[in-house]
């Protein structure tokens, strides 16, 4: 029987308070790490656990940490990416609102491992409650000696600051987030240099997602083997799945990595709304290519979804039923990417504008012969031709919609109307 650990405090009354967190065993992992392990041992432990980043890319966390130079003449920074903006994703908000100390403990252990004394949590500005709860939790943790100088009698000093975003999806891209933290317009940087070598203020920096960081105390407490024993060997651990859209029980579910998408949507989330059928599911936020109903038996982990031509992304699972027009869904997704393009790269900035115009025309029943070919050409022109993955995500998502639901697009053009209206 799978035991939820990441969400175990989420439904505890007043679970966001330090007293509740301590009552559930909170901050013991930090004490254990500081007493029993060197920073290198923590990095090795996380490497052995096979923890992979939960922000979307799935990069091995321990390896990312090991890229930070051991000796540096500049301070090292830990940044928590809490700029949760991928449509369909809400897991980090719920953790920060209801269990902020879990994140603080995860950050403290991670900072100890990489040798950082300062961390910034970049939280999207809309998350006002999460920001307040985090700030309150930081004050509580300082007062109790879990943050500050010589934490729990060790030589480790560590402070956490909250930095509020201001409504730019691109800040979820880690180098854009660093520019934003430095007080600039958020535009992705060319890599290399990678942040581990030259990140925030050109100092060695590790950027991890909220969910990645909250896995860390549990791995310290229960061991790498426990973590690796959950889900697929190469992509293990407990996982948060955000289910939304046209489904009976939308919500946040903690289940093993790798569970079949069909089981998640039909059993846990209750299946389609009454009298409807599932048509398609977006498995990892709108950047992830859509899966038609017949593909739902795929496992929800990085490798299985990649093999199926899509991605786990942020595990924002959006369910679309048979009453919904896929052209409309695709249009709305590309409108989003067009709006959020930072403007740095021409293929993304101009290409998405063009795609939006063509899609709106098709959805309005004004599509023309050649529009499908034009969309194919535009995807090709955007994909792989930009600094960051925003343009790629848009192109991949549109390609999948065009491939799996081509007949819907063609019907719009041939009938000169939306068949769903």
């Amino acid at each position: 029987m799978f035991e939820p650990v990441l969400l175990k405090n989420v439904n505890v009354p007043e679970g966001h308070l330090l007293s509740s967190y301590e009552a559930g065993g909170g901050y013991r992992a930090l004490g254990k790490a500081l007493r029993e392990n060197t920073p290198d041992e923590i990095i090795e432990l996380i490497k052995r656990s096979n923890l992979r980043g939960r922000g979307g890319a799935g990069f091995p966390t321990g390896m990312k940490w090991s890229f930070v130079p051991k000796r540096a003449d500049k301070p090292k920074y830990l940044c928590c990416n809490a700029d949760e903006g991928e449509p369909g994703t809400f897991k980090d908000r719920i953790i920060m609102e209801r269990d902020p100390h879990q994140l603080i403990e995860g950050m403290a252990i991670s900072a100890y491992a990489i040798g950082a004394e300062v961390a910034y949590v970049y939280v999207r500005g809309e998350y006002v409650l999460a920001i307040r709860r985090l700030e309150q939790a930081i004050e509580e943790a300082k007062a109790k000696g879990y943050l500050g100088a010589r934490i729990l009698g060790s030589d480790f000093n560590f402070v956490v600051h909250v930095h509020c975003g201001a409504g730019a999806y691109i800040c979820g891209e880690e180098t854009a987030m660093l520019d934003s933290l430095e007080g600039k317009r958020a535009q992705p940087r060319l890599k290399p240099p990678f942040p581990a070598v030259a990140g925030l203020y050109a100092s060695p920096t590790v950027i991890n997602n909220v969910e990645t960081l909250v896995c860390v105390p549990h791995i310290v407490a229960r061991g790498a083997d426990w973590f690796r024993g959950i889900g697929p060997e190469k992509s293990p651990g407990p996982k948060l799945y955000c289910v939304s859209g046209q489904v009976r029980k939308p919500g946040l579910y903690e289940l093993p990595m790798g569970i079949p998408l069909r089981e998640l949507v039909e059993d846990h989330a209750g299946g389609p709304l009454p009298e409807r059928k599932i048509k398609a599911v977006i498995p990892g936020g709108v950047s992830a290519p859509v899966i038609p109903e017949q593909g739902l038996d795929v496992g929800m982990d990085f490798d299985s979804l990649a093999a199926a031509g899509t991605m786990l992304g942020s595990a924002g699972v959006i369910v679309v039923d048979d009453t919904t027009c896929m052209v409309k869904v695709a249009t709305r997704i590309i409108e989003f990417f067009h709006h959020e393009s930072c403007g740095k790269c021409t293929p993304c900035r101009e290409g998405l504008n063009w795609v939006v115009k063509v899609l709106r025309r098709i959805e309005a029943g004004e599509g023309e012969a050649g529009d499908m070919e034009q969309l194919d050409m535009l995807c090709k022109g955007i994909f792989g031709n930009t600094f960051c993955a925003l343009g790629d995500g848009a192109a991949m998502g549109l390609r999948a919609a065009l491939a799996h639901f081509r007949e819907e697009f063609v019907a719009h053009i041939e009938e000169r109307r939306c068949p769903f209206h």
Binding site: P87, G88, G125, G183, G245, P250, F336, H339
Partner: protein
């Protein structure tokens, strides 16, 4: 604390003053409601940074408003998860009830109506942010009740007061 003190305190969290521009703009916007040029220049002066650095952030990030917004800023999410839960019907209803189009502000300055990208609360779609608060699993009835509650928080406006009320930007 004055605005200057709050900004100076926030700036203490960073080794570089430029990093404090975003927090400073959020503080200034809470204080003034929006960010006209004079406020942007004051922020630049408090932090001792280039004015252009402040201007470029105020115009890049969507949460910063260089133009006035209503007392209650209704920000309805119309991204995919909310769209699938019929946020469009709510937008149409709000436009009718308030007598304004998306992007507009009511003449009494009470409500500004906007659609926004995903608010990260799709489990309670359709969702709308008003000020600091999220309102979820919305339908027409709940929207009406919410608008009535918001109206009730402001003192009753008689005809005389209405005539005196200045629309934002007016």
């Amino acid at each position: 604390m004055t605005m200057r003190e709050k900004i100076e305190q926030a700036a203490g969290r960073y080794p570089d003053q430029r990093s404090a521009i975003m927090p400073a703009l959020l503080i200034a916007q809470r204080e003034h409601g929006h960010l006209p040029g004079a406020v942007l220049e004051e922020v630049a002066e408090i932090l001792g940074v280039e004015r252009i650095w402040v201007y470029e952030l105020a115009t890049f990030y969507t949460l910063f408003h260089t133009e006035p917004v209503g007392k209650f800023h209704l920000q309805l999410c119309d991204n995919v998860s909310c769209m699938l839960r019929r946020s469009e019907d709510l937008l149409t209803h709000l436009e009718e009830v308030l007598g304004i189009k998306k992007g507009g502000t009511t003449p009494d300055g009470l409500f500004t109506l906007s659609t926004v990208e995903c608010l990260g609360a799709c489990e309670m779609a359709p969702v709308m942010q008003v000020g600091d608060d999220y309102h979820g699993t919305l339908d027409i009835e709940r929207i009406d009740a919410l608008i009535a509650r918001l109206r009730a928080t402001v003192p009753d406006t008689t005809g005389a007061d209405l005539a005196a009320a200045e629309p934002p930007g007016g």
